[in-house]
């Protein structure tokens, strides 16, 4: 098998009654890639993720995942097992009353027995440092906790690729650091949407942007540092 996980060619998509959001978009993901996507709101990043997962059908173009073309709903069942999508709003992802049930939901759907599913769920929660969260009620979690639990629900499916839709938005700096550590510890390929360069530079290898419904591979953004001077510059400080 080649190292290409995703191969999207000439994807076109537009919401009914609107202009094309994705216009002849090409996108490739290889094993081990850690890609950051930065683009203005409404430029089709989330739409791209939904097309990869088969939640939206492109008007034209082909989606190839794990070496096979994916067209019908049935083709995407395997894709959804091997690619995990973290939604922008954690409330969309957590629908079970308790954390443990929500994390075990995916493994149970994959046909695991109750005991296996519970073991996977507990291990995932342990890995994310969420011990003791098993019986917490999902809607009563804080924003940061909800985000980490949603990540647990995705990781419990043991995916090979992660698609993360603005995972750092709305998190305080300590939860953000935790998320960075987790992402760096995972041996997974992922695509990450974010508006925070600081977060992207610590987690991803390449940063691409989107323009006119396409991903601009020719305009890769490089994280770099500037030297500069200002008053009190010797004091430890951060620039936001």
């Amino acid at each position: 098998m080649s190292s290409v996980i995703l191969n999207l060619t000439k994807i076109r998509y537009g919401y009914p009654g609107g202009p094309l959001v994705l216009n002849d978009l090409d996108f490739h993901l290889h094993v081990g890639d850690r890609i950051g996507l930065v683009a203005p709101n409404g430029s089709g990043k989330t739409t791209l993720f939904h097309i990869i997962m088969g939640l939206l059908k492109p008007l034209s173009g082909t989606v190839e995942a794990f070496g096979e073309a994916r067209e019908a709903e049935a083709d995407f069942i395997e894709v959804r097992r091997r690619i995990g999508l973290l939604f922008q709003d954690a409330d969309d992802q957590l629908f079970s009353p308790t954390v443990l049930e929500d994390v075990a939901f995916g493994p149970l759907n994959l046909g695991k027995s109750r005991e296996e599913a519970l073991t996977v769920a507990r291990n995932t929660l342990d890995f994310l440092g969420l011990n003791g969260f098993e019986d917490r009620v999902t809607y009563k979690l804080s924003g940061g906790e909800k985000r980490l639990v949603s990540l647990a629900t995705v990781l419990a499916m043991e995916p090979e690729v992660l698609l993360l839709d603005e995972p750092s938005t709305g998190l305080d700096s300590s939860t953000k650091d935790k998320l960075i550590d987790i992402l760096n510890e995972l041996d997974l390929s992922f695509v990450l949407i974010s508006h925070e360069f600081d977060f992207l530079s610590k987690t991803t290898g390449h940063i691409y942007t989107m323009d006119g419904g396409r991903i601009r591979f020719d305009q890769e953004l490089d994280i770099h540092t500037h030297e500069h001077a200002h008053l009190m510059g010797k004091q430890p400080h951060r620039h936001l």
Binding site: I77, F87, P97, Y139
Partner: protein, 250 residues
Amino acid sequence: MIRESFAEGSSWIHGIDPRLRVSGAAAFAVVVAVSYDFKALFTALMLSLFAVFSARLDFRTVAQRLFAPAVFLLLLWAVLPWSYEGETLTTLGPLTITRPGVTLCAQISLKTICLMVAFMALVATMTVDTLGHTLNRLWLPDKMVHLLLITYRYLFVIEQEYQRLLRAMKIRNFHPRTNLHSYRSVAYLVGMLFVRASERARRVHCAMICRGFNGRFVSLRAFPPNPLNPIFCLGVSLSLALLVTLEWVK
């Protein structure tokens, strides 16, 4: 929004297998609903009060929760006694109060209070989510159980959304008055809530599909055995037998 204060207790009733409690309450409801004999109805009331007592529920809260059905019953008492035909009991001005009317009202009131109290003791003492899984184990259709559980989960999210919209209106100085502007604004609020709820439903469904959902919920819940389960069963069976005897065996 939904307070589950009764579910937090730790009496012996709380420890009984939820499946037994739900089936017990359902059987009790059937028997009480078809009973008309006052001896049977009062006995049933005693039994349900005993259940509340055993569950160690706060009597004030129980009384508060009976308020809503009480309003409904008052309505019944205001209409039925004079509008029902039959033997005259007494006359109040132009109105004739009939004996069958009063009897019927009394029966309905007794049944209502009795069932409300019994359900508070047996069913309200578990969380909605336990109730959902219990019903699932009791072979209720999957779809109904999903509806219950997901409604329960997203009621809170929709309420938050409602509060958010309401705040947005308030900070721009919206005071509901009796005018077209107020009606229109409130209609927008409700409409927006529907739109947002259906958008939310779509996204949740997407998230579930992404995690391999195929239309069937698998419940993780295990109900631990409890030595009191058989005793509870016996108690319920004896109570039901007693009610049936009082009602039908003359």
